[in-house]
Amino acid sequence: MDNSPSAVSRSEAMRSFKIATWLGWQITSNWTDPFLFAIYSIIRPISRAAILVVMYGVITQGNFTNPLFPYIYLGNAFYTYVFTVMNGVSWAVIDDREHYKTLKYMYIAPIRIPFYLLGRGMAGFLTASLSVVITILAGALFLHVSIDPLHANWLVFFVALFIGVIMLSMMGLLLAAVCLLVARHAGSVAEGVSGVLFLFCGAIYPLEVLPKWLQPVGFANPITYWLELMRRSLVGSVAQAFPTLARFNNLELLGILLGLTVLFTALSIFVFRYSDRLARERGLIDRTTNY
């Protein structure tokens, strides 16, 4: 048995992550019976997608063959991950500190706090996956979203999904760092950030629709490249239909996504360490803001 400090540290990190994922899933799902939870998981994403479907259908008079439709539909479906993962990580700080009042005990327990928070984000990912799968299935079965499982690029899909989840988790960690320090609006941080990012990532419209001076914000946003890869992997034809990222091939997009993910990871780790130290120094770990 390896008892070296690095092995113990790795084991602690993995245990924190796994337990937090299980805990997060329990908190998310055990408020009701499985039947109601299934309805809850289905009704929200389908309704959100249906708003866009009706809008699209009214204007195009039901022409669902235009590549803009899968662009909008899949972009909206995958964006579910953005809020859920980021909120899963950052909300854990508020939930454990203000609601359950257990954050201080987490800090003195033999666990790694950043990995614990990332585990809570993973629970968000699992919940969101249910919604995303249902939305995409409904699109493929009932709304002519032309996804052919035999022609989909599954390698790109899973690689992009993996990198994307890391990227979103790191963004969540950045927000968790903010939540550790701020006394007000901590609960709305993830909702606000994901709401604003939604406008600048080409999720439901191509970036060209934005005013020219705002388009660079979209190009600096890693979610833009991630959504493009997710769409391309399932429905290749959307890439040719819009000029936004047409000049990049899949490998180049993966490279950009990876680069931005590394950048966000470094930034998140740095900011979280700083905030964590400040929160301990100022005695903010066990405070209750009641906000």
Partner: protein, 282 residues
């Protein structure tokens, strides 16, 4: 000195107590909430982000301008729906969690006055946010209004608010009975209501029976009537005539307010009989 003692010992009862309770409960919403300017920022930014996103979808689809106008007005009305859902329907549940609910029930005032105070306060406070959304949206996207009868438009807004907040008052008791599930239920119904009430498209676009069923949500007909009264081509995309819509909204107001009273009485009885309804359970 003796005058002050007399004032303190003077007991208010009946309607006087009722209206004083209404004013007292609406005070933190109208005055207190405005003191925290950052709330205004958050409550405007979130609906505005949705408005901008949906307008840009219409722009990408090269939709006629009236659809853009519809989104702006729908975004403003969504502020009321959010307020009804999160600050009315779930409010008694939050009050229970914070320990205030037992105090409300023990106090000599009517619970209906507490709910009415919450509704009035929430409505007035949200009007400010809705106005900001309409102004910003109109300026950003060049929305053009042609209001033939401002009085009727105002009347429709008022009746819609009475019906909508009546629904919120009714939900407040119902959500309290849901217990721990209240938060999830509120979360669950947000998007379906956004869909069926036609916040971002004319309700006429939905199949007739779905639109008819959705008319039980006051937001649906209120918004449809306002669009018909505020935009040049609004009447072409209207679901029913404004007269019919106003009539249905009046009926809904009466039904929801009566329903709120009945459910509240039931909840109060349950709270006293079982003694557990006011307990916060974590």
């Amino acid at each position: 000195m003796s005058k002050n003692v007399a004032n303190v010992s003077q007991k208010h009862t009946g309607w006087r107590l009722f209206w004083q309770s209404v004013i007292a409960r609406s005070y933190p919403r109208i005055i207190g909430q405005q003191r925290e300017a950052s709330w205004l920022l958050f409550e405007v930014i979130m609906p505005m982000a949705s408005v901008i996103a949906y307008v840009l979808v219409y722009r990408a689809l090269k939709a006629p301008q009236e659809y853009v106008s519809f989104v702006v007005l729908g975004g403003a009305m969504s502020a009321f729906w959010m307020n009804v859902l999160w600050s009315m329907s779930t409010q008694l549940y939050w009050e229970k969690e914070q320990g205030n609910l037992a105090l409300y029930i023990m106090a000599p005032n009517s619970m209906m006055s507490i709910l009415l105070g919450m509704a009035l306060g929430g409505m007035v406070a949200t009007i400010l946010r809705a106005v900001v959304i309409v102004l910003l949206g109109s300026l950003m996207f060049g929305v053009h209004y042609v209001v033939v009868s401002p009085f009727v438009l105002f009347a429709v807004l008022l009746i819609s608010m009475v019906a909508l907040y009546g629904l919120g008052m009714m939900f407040a008791s119902a959500f309290l009975l849901f217990g721990r599930e209240a938060w999830a239920i509120a979360d669950m119904i947000t998007e379906p209501v956004n869909l069926v009430s036609g916040l971002y498209f004319p309700i006429k676009s939905l199949p007739f029976w779905i639109a008819a069923a959705a008319s039980i949500i006051p937001l649906t007909l209120g918004l449809d009537a306002m669009r018909q009264l505020a935009f040049p081509n609004g009447f072409k995309l209207g679901f029913l005539t404004t007269r019919v819509e106003i009539f249905i909204l009046v009926c809904l107001s009466v039904i929801f307010l009566a329903g709120a009273k009945l459910l509240l009485d039931y909840t109060e009885k349950l709270a006293i009989r079982e003694g557990r309804l006011t307990e916060a359970r974590r």
